[in-house]
């Protein structure tokens, strides 16, 4: 997202709550985790921004910082540009406002992240595991995940041929 777009956002939310960072290839805007829903509504419907396409939502686990960062990729047909929003939550009690009400498709992305990284999204309509079976233990995409030896009496390893 361009700096101009950031200006519009900063006017509304203040420069100390949302931080612009252009060290990476796609510059991103850091948003505090309790404001993410408001920012998303604003950025989607603002007549000069119109980031109406929701591209993806990913979660990244940083065990040494004890944080899980959620990365939102949005796209605007009007500006023909990508917008990256980042919000990070505590790794021990990961909780965040759901943005399912802004983009319906975010609901499934959030369920996937709940499934693989264990983040809880508040006010989500159906916060259940999406990909893995319901009785799965642990969150595989966390860096410290260890595979169990058995799952429902099926071995999880195979001997190398001798």
């Amino acid at each position: 997202m361009t700096y101009k777009g950031y200006d519009i956002l900063a006017l509304r939310f203040g420069k100390d709550t949302i931080i612009y960072c252009d060290k990476t290839l796609n510059p991103y805007i850091e948003v505090s985790s309790d404001q993410i829903q408001e920012v998303c509504i604003y950025i989607r419907y603002h007549p000069e921004l119109k980031f109406s396409f929701f591209f993806s939502l990913s979660g990244v686990d940083y065990p040494e910082k004890n944080r899980i960062t959620l990365v939102y990729h949005l796209f605007s047909m009007k500006l023909k540009t990508l917008c990256v929003l980042k919000a990070s939550v505590n790794r021990n009690h990961p909780e965040l406002e759901s943005i399912e009400s802004v983009w319906k498709t975010a609901g499934w992305f959030e369920r996937e992240i709940h499934d693989l990284l264990g983040v809880n999204f508040i006010r989500h309509s159906n916060m259940k595991r999406l990909l893995l079976p319901d009785d799965w233990v642990g969150y595989p995409l966390r860096k410290d995940y260890k595979e169990p030896l058995l799952y429902h009496d099926m071995e999880t390893s195979r001997d190398k041929p001798s």
Partner: protein, 383 residues
């Protein structure tokens, strides 16, 4: 008289409201790959269809964190086996963007040729399987015959029929020879009239139109809200194509149209529009391949890169227009020789999430038409 007697016997009975829960899949010929639907129906009318995915979740994103950058390419083939070239492309593009590697022009052109041929092959399966799903098995066999021709070309070009691994970081693996060029041109000459023949066979067939037109209409608002991409989004009449919106590679040098749904046989955004957009796209792909072959520049096909590629701390998001719409990769590097985090965003994932909403009030047989016209592929949903 009889009715009165019955009502006397069973005062609470409501003979026309009887909910039934049906379990469709995961082993089912009509769902594309292993999908499971929990369908709550009243007779033939669906009240709700709840998709249950994850039967093919292979943990590719976790495997990426254990695999060096250059050796991850074969895994990307398996994300979407019908159009493996695009997954190859988006992954190598992400690595090239992060490592700042230039691709030679000839390499880019070869990528375009391979991708567009693959788009045709993928649409052949998707349109053919849609016809098969709703009960016409002849078109599918016709399309499989054409697909075999593309498979032969791909085999000569990449060495594999299905899982190509053609792209390399910095270019492509093999150059195109004059024989293959001739074979491609011969195939295009043969294939373009076949599309019209196919249209005569099935696209303008009255029964086929009745099964698809005005069925499972997706409005423009819903399409954007549910994050539909690619032909599904364009079927609803929104002109959004990553090749135009965020140009990548050398796509800005080719002249091609972006077909959108116009309500060809019914309402805008119905199953027939999504189907017919794919047919039109195949023609465009043929034209792109021709243009690329005509203007194919000489030179290298690949930049030499270090064997042990290490990328300093950075992140990027790249996306391509795959056969199922936008496919994106969010890649985070941390200075080592393997990704810190790799997130794959696919078109089928979002397409699947709309089924729950659109299926309400459809007939059971129309659900098949909806899934077929959305062209979902199970491994792309689950990864």
């Amino acid at each position: 008289m009889l009715k009165n007697q019955l009502s006397h016997l069973k005062p609470q009975a409501t003979p026309f409201m009887e909910e039934m829960i049906l379990n469709m899949g995961p082993q089912h010929p009509s769902t594309h790959g292993v999908l499971n639907f929990l369908i709550i129906t009243d007779g033939e009318v669906i009240h709700q269809a709840l998709p249950n995915v994850g039967y093919l979740h292979r943990g590719i994103e976790k495997l990426a964190e254990q695999t060096p950058y250059t050796t991850f390419i074969p895994f990307t083939d398996r994300i979407d086996y019908l159009s493996a070239m695009f997954a190859n492309h988006v992954y190598v593009m992400a690595v090239e963007t992060l490592a700042n590697i230039e691709v030679p022009e000839r390499g880019e052109y070869l990528r375009v040729i391979a991708c567009e041929l693959n788009r045709i092959a993928s649409h052949l399966i998707s349109t053919g399987a849609l016809a098969l799903d709703i009960g016409a098995s002849t078109p599918f066999v016709h399309w499989i015959r054409e697909r075999e021709c593309i498979n032969d070309i791909m085999e000569a070009l990449c060495g594999a029929r299905l899982t190509y691994s053609y792209m390399r970081v910095g270019g492509v693996s093999r150059d195109i020879s004059q024989n293959i060029k001739d074979a491609v041109l011969k195939f295009l000459d043969h294939f373009e009239p076949i599309i019209d023949e196919y249209n005569r066979l099935i696209s303008f067939n009255g029964i086929f139109i009745k099964r698809l037109a005005n069925v499972a209409i997706i409005s423009q608002v819903d399409a954007v809200n549910f994050g539909l991409v690619g032909p599904n989004l364009r079927g609803s009449g929104i002109e959004m194509d990553i090749r135009r919106a965020i140009p990548y590679g050398v796509y800005d040098r080719f002249d091609f149209k972006i077909p959108i749904g116009l309500g060809f046989q019914g309402t805008l955004g119905d199953s027939y529009d999504r189907y017919f957009v794919r047919i039109l796209e195949m023609k465009e792909s043929c034209s792109i391949v021709r243009q690329a072959l005509e203007t194919l520049p000489p030179g290298d096909i690949r930049t030499k890169i270090k064997r042990n590629l290490k990328i300093r701390e950075n992140e990027c998001y790249t996306c391509v227009e795959s056969a199922r719409g936008e496919m994106g990769i969010y890649l985070v590097s941390d200075g080592s020789d393997r990704p810190y985090r790799l997130k794959i965003k696919t078109g089928s994932f979002t397409a699947m999430s709309i089924v729950e909403k659109i299926s309400q009030g459809l007939m059971v047989a129309d659900l098949i038409a909806l899934i077929g016209s959305l062209d979902v592929v199970a491994p792309e949903i689950d990864r």
